[in-house]
Structure formats: C-alpha cells, structure tokens
Symmetry: C3
Subunit: 309 residues, 3 copies
Amino acid sequence: MSFLNGKDVLDGAQFTRDEIDAIMALADDYRGQLGERRGLDLLKGAVLAALFFEPSTRTRLSFETAMHRLGGSVVGFASAESTSVAKGETLSDTIRTVDQYVDVIAMRHPRIGSAREAAEVANAPVLNGGDGAGQHPTQALLDLYTIRQERGTVEGQTIALVGDLKNGRTVHAGVEIYKHYDCKLICVAPEALRMPVEVVERLRARGFSVEETDSLEDALRRADALYMTRIQKERFADPAEYEQLKDAYVLDRAMIERLRPDVTVLHPLPRINEIATDVDALPNAAYFRQAQNGVFVRMALLAMVLGAA
Amino acid sequence: MSFLNGKDVLDGAQFTRDEIDAIMALADDYRGQLGERRGLDLLKGAVLAALFFEPSTRTRLSFETAMHRLGGSVVGFASAESTSVAKGETLSDTIRTVDQYVDVIAMRHPRIGSAREAAEVANAPVLNGGDGAGQHPTQALLDLYTIRQERGTVEGQTIALVGDLKNGRTVHAGVEIYKHYDCKLICVAPEALRMPVEVVERLRARGFSVEETDSLEDALRRADALYMTRIQKERFADPAEYEQLKDAYVLDRAMIERLRPDVTVLHPLPRINEIATDVDALPNAAYFRQAQNGVFVRMALLAMVLGAA
Amino acid sequence: MSFLNGKDVLDGAQFTRDEIDAIMALADDYRGQLGERRGLDLLKGAVLAALFFEPSTRTRLSFETAMHRLGGSVVGFASAESTSVAKGETLSDTIRTVDQYVDVIAMRHPRIGSAREAAEVANAPVLNGGDGAGQHPTQALLDLYTIRQERGTVEGQTIALVGDLKNGRTVHAGVEIYKHYDCKLICVAPEALRMPVEVVERLRARGFSVEETDSLEDALRRADALYMTRIQKERFADPAEYEQLKDAYVLDRAMIERLRPDVTVLHPLPRINEIATDVDALPNAAYFRQAQNGVFVRMALLAMVLGAA
C-alpha cells in the first residue's frame, strides 16, 4: 500500500523525491487506463467531501471528477453561505462533523493554515485544495506532472515563475516540489510581489539555483517553462495597489515567437489578461492540458490516501 | 451509432424530421425500461458537467437525473457566484477547462449564443440548456414528446403558443421543431411581445400555417394543445413594462370547460399565475407529466451524443 | 417490506414504539455492514432529491452520504437562490416537478408545515429535514439512537433538554419519540423559551414524567443524558431578545466533573458557545458520534421508504 495511505496532503514540502515520483507514476498509469475506458471501480462505495469555503471551478470540479472516475461519490459545498458557517460554526466543528460521514476530505478555505487545522481534528485524510495565500500542493504536483509531460523531463529545465510570487500559493507549493529536481528557477515579479526572501534563501541554502528579476522578457529568453500566474485581486487589502500591479506582465504570441519559440507556457488558471488569447492556439500553450493533468494527479492522490493504490 | 454521436445540441433548427423521430423513439424506449427498474448502466464511468450560470431547478435537475438514471456521474455548479467567473474568467476559458475533465457538458447561460461559443471551444458535446432569450432545444424536444404522448400524434394538431413570444426561448426553439410536422400554429401574444416577424415569415415561406392573435379565448376555442409560457421578468429592462404585461393571459378551469374541454395544457414551468391552480386537477393539465418527459428525452440525448445509443 | 414502504417521514409523532425499534435495528444493521465495506448496492439506480431551502451542513450532507452509501445518486440544491423559487415558483410546484424526476425527497424549508405540504402533492416519499420551528424527525431518531448507543438503553434514563425549547424543532420532534420509552424528561429553559405548555401537558397526560427548571446545574446533577441546543438567532424577530438569551446556558468541563461525571452530552450541532470546547475531549462528549449515527439512521429511513428493507 502507498506511503500516503491514511495520510494528509497539506503542503508541497511534505514529500520526498521518491514519493513525488511515485505519485507521478500512478497519475501516468491512470491516464493510460482512462484512455481505454471512462471510469474505474477502485473507490466504489467511498465518499469524498469537497468542502469549498471559497469560489473554485477548477480545483473543485477536478477533485470531484477524479473521485467519480475512480468509482466513488461526492458530497460537499461550493461556498460557505449555504452551510452552518452562516450560523457561526467554527471550521474545526464543521470538519469534525463531516469527518463522521466521509472517507476523505478535499477543502479550500481562505485562511492560511486552515487545512492543517482540519487535518488535526479529522480522522479522514485531508487534501488541501488551497488555504488562502498558503499552500496548494495538489496544484504544484499537477504543475510538475505537466512539465514532465510537455518537456519529457524536469531535470535540466529552467522554470520561470511569473506574477504575484508573494501571495501565490501555487508557486509557494511549487518551489517545495521543484527543489527535488535538478532544475533552475527564475522568479519574475514586481518589487512589491517578490518571492518571500526566506523562501529564496532556503532554496539557495540547499544549493538550488534561484534567480530573481522583474523582467518577463529577460526570463522568457532563458526559460524552458514559463509559469504564469494571476495577480489575485482577492489577496490585496488596497484596491489601488492591485490596479497598479495587475497588468505588470502580459505574455503574447509575438513575445514567444521573438524571444523563445520553444517555451512551454503553464498557468494554474483562471487567467484574466496575463496571457493574451493569441497564445492559446500555439503548441506552447499547455495550460488547458495542465487542467486535465489535474484529474490524473488527483486520482492518484485519492487512491493513495484511501489505500486503494 | 446515433447521428448525434459526438455532436452538440444547440438549436431546435439543427434537426431533420428523421432525427427528431429517432430521439422520440429512444426516449420512448427509456421510458419503457425505467418502468421496470430504477436505472440503467449505459453511461457507467461517464461524467456530465452541468454548468448553470443562471438559476434553474427543472432543467438542471432533469439533466442530472437523466445522467444518473443512465449510470453516469455529475459535476458542476448551480450559479456563477461560486465559480471562477467571480474572478473574471471568460466563458471560453471556463468551458475549455471543464472540457478537459468531462465527457459531456450541459449548460445554461444568460447570453444569446453562449452555448454555440462553448461548442466552438469544447471537444465534448455541448447541450444547450437555455442561452438567454435564444434557444432551449432540449425543452422544445420534450414539449414535442409531450404532445405526442398526450394526443397520440403531432400531425393534424393545432398548437397555440401563448405569452412572451418575443423573448421566450422555449417557443423559439419549439417552432423549429414543430415546423417538421403537419400541424398548425396560433401565436397568442400582446402587441409588445409578438413572435418576431422574421420567424413567422420564415415558417409561412415553408408553407406552414401560422396565425397571430392577441386573444387567448379565441385561440383556446380552436387549439388542441395550449402552450402557456411565463412572462419572464428577467427579460425586461423596464419593470413598468413587465408590470403592465405580466397578467396578460391567465388560464383557468372555467375557461377550459367553457371553450375547449378537450385541450391539452402544457407549460415549460415555472409558472407564476398564468395557469390558475384549479387547472392542475384536470386531466388536461399535462405540465407536470411534461417535466417527467424531460428526463426521458434528455436521457436519449445524453446517450446519443456519447455514442451509447 | 417495511411499514414505511412508500411512506413519508414528517413528524416525530407518527411512529409507534415498534416502528421506532425497527428503525433502530436497521440502523444497527447498516452500522455493522459499513464496518466491513464502504458502501452497499441496495439503492443502485435510485435518485434522492435533497432540497434545502435553508442552509444546512449536517442534515444535507448526512442524507446525501446515506444515499451514496446505499448505492444511490443525489440531485438537489443547497439554497433557494439558485432555484426557480427566485422566479416566484411556489413550493407546491417545485415539489410536484421534482417528484417527476426522483424516487425520494429529503427537504428543509423555513416554513412550519412545509414538509407536510410537500408530502400532500408528491408521490415520492418525503423526508422532513426540518420545517422552520416545526419538526425534525430524522434528527430526533438519531438522537434516540445515540442515547441507546452511549448508555446501552433509553429505558430508565433521565434526559435533560436544554436551551430554546420554544422554537427548537429537534426537541419538539424528540419528545414525540422519547415518550414511547420509560424515561424521564427535564426541560431546562429560560422563561421566555420554555417548552410550549401544551406539549408538557400532553406528555403528562400520558403519565410521562416531565420536570421544568431554568437551572442547568440543577438538571445536570440528575441527568443521564444532557441534550444541549443552540439558541437559534434565525428564530428571533427581535435581535435584542436574542442577545439577552444567547448565553443563558454554557456547559463546560468543570461543571461536568463537579456535578455529574457520568453524564452523556448530546447536541444536534452546530454549536456556538453553549458547550465549551474543553468538553470535546471528554468521553462524555457524544455529539460528533451523534453526527455519524445520523448517516446510519438516514440509511435505514431511505431504504425503508424505498422498499429496499
């Protein structure tokens, strides 16, 4: 049975290299099996609680689809308004209650650390689908999976992370995954949204190569994979600051063709305007394939934590 | 395999007479099979995305029930607020993402043409569950199915369409279906809500009989089937205009008994006050049976577009 | 087949003692079966409509989980906003429509008597998941089940009901269940929230022992089971009255250890502050186990009304 049997998935930093490779391999396996048939029966009878206290299309539907493709069922909610949170219930009580019903919990909540709080009171495995500006480890794993798929390997690749590196949970979770591979990072952000200095220092202390720049063009020239992110309005206390920074980086087709025709473009989505739609038709545009990879990776995680793989 | 295998269902006008008859026959078949058992296994493992950007009880629950009765699963949302649309994502991006997860998409969206936009970017078949004041083809098909069930045939029948014929998507989709049959239409609407003149002219150019009147009583005397519709508040920019027109037509039991005791009464529902509740107990009232027929017709469409029939 | 086959569950008062015992026995049976595997196949193909016109985490997710554990499917909604109620549809029309789709309906609605109204127009069995300040019979059954589980029996037990006994639907449904057993009730409420006098008198007329007090400490000393309830803000027209009463009773660990170390503490949840969190770690705290029991009891009810048990 898997190393994840009965465990939580809270943080990109929790995995060893071997563990990440095992998740990738199982995701590959499910991708192959779904090529031949629509669904598997591995989790028949099992129930997932998808508890989304914040809006989500992608992560929620991806987790739910993954559970259905494995033969399981789903209960849950898509916003906090229709729940007992509206009656003043604490997160801890909501989780302890739902824990009595289901076999596994996937959740998104606006507070940093919320998934860990949930894991502390739940017997069922908790999968963190985003805790505010904190972590988003399943996204980081599917990002890695996508780089592997698109470029054949992560080893030797130069990955540029672009946008709000201060608040972006997908990049925070991502660096904890990438650090296990022999790749290089370029952090591209305006001064106000730089990657937290302690993150950069921790990576460098491991001997990992991390550059910082505020120039998208500079990074694009040297990148194999460009990981674009949205400047997230909901993370700004001051709307004026958001307005000033929201158009900091806009990637378009001409830039790619001029600077790095071979680059792979990723994005956790949703995008607003940071990737022009004329990029979509290029083979470089991996972001919708990336969304599909999320189903395979989440199938792997669900099967592993439930002891079915 | 069906002519609809891998295709979209966007518009009442897309079908030939033979195709409509094939859908009716398959819906009949499923009705029969569900008389003996609760569900079938035809779509086991398949996943439907029910993407409802506008409120719906009937259409959403009917599609979802149809998918479950065929053995499939459902993901989705019941309003745009809990999705990434709230973060500024375009319809096209939402659809392209969900398309990576599921086998088939059923959607409702307030913008005319939205389902066609979705179909252009999705690989999965798209079933239009209402695009603003545009089309609602699955409703039109179940309306036709209901007239067949209730009156034995559509041929030779006089069908009166009553209410907001200007904005009503169910009647716009309906005439594109009815035109294939040897039936007569009476369009009953106040001047401000008349059937668009180009629709009437196009039908007449085909040699199809279409009368127009603003008198419900006049139409009722001569109709075999009366298709009542709600004056839809959400389609009026000016509330005063809505207030003036909302009570234009109210059908009650006394009118039926006095003018046309044999008439079949349909309504896409929800109704506000346009059919008095004293009609409900009459055998003429077909509108709740009509709701049930929606499940059989949508089962047929789902099975066909997914190549299972 | 069960006495409940095809029947509704609307009110704690509808059951005989034998019927309650049969429900308890079937819930025990399912608890045992789920110890060995995750789900059963008894309701394969069947569809539950979970119609929640008011916020709910527990009751909705518990019903849905119960249906999934029995192999069935679920459609529905978690708030009235995303439904045709927003278009002005009556409850009766919504129910008659959904009744055409599904095999069984579980509902919560803010109006007293709403579940009974629904049952009058639906062919499918209706399970009342709370009708305003009215009834909540499935909660009452799971409360009874929990007392049996925790204390071995209900016979001879002294049960203290604490909090808003005027508006609390779980206690109103509860007394209709407890009255069949040889147990004693202590009603603990502030003057303004006392158990309705007609309820107390009806119980006493049956020879049932009912005490009333406004002292939690007094009741705790003599109780075997303490049934705490939330003072429900949403039931008060006057916010000032709510503010004055909301902290009337707060149970903490020290009180239990000092007054009645053996007491079993129940709560329908969600709680606000009426049970201090230092109680949670005590073996006395049965309220989360109580939530789990809800799944077994609702499985029993679903299987019974659908003729599968």
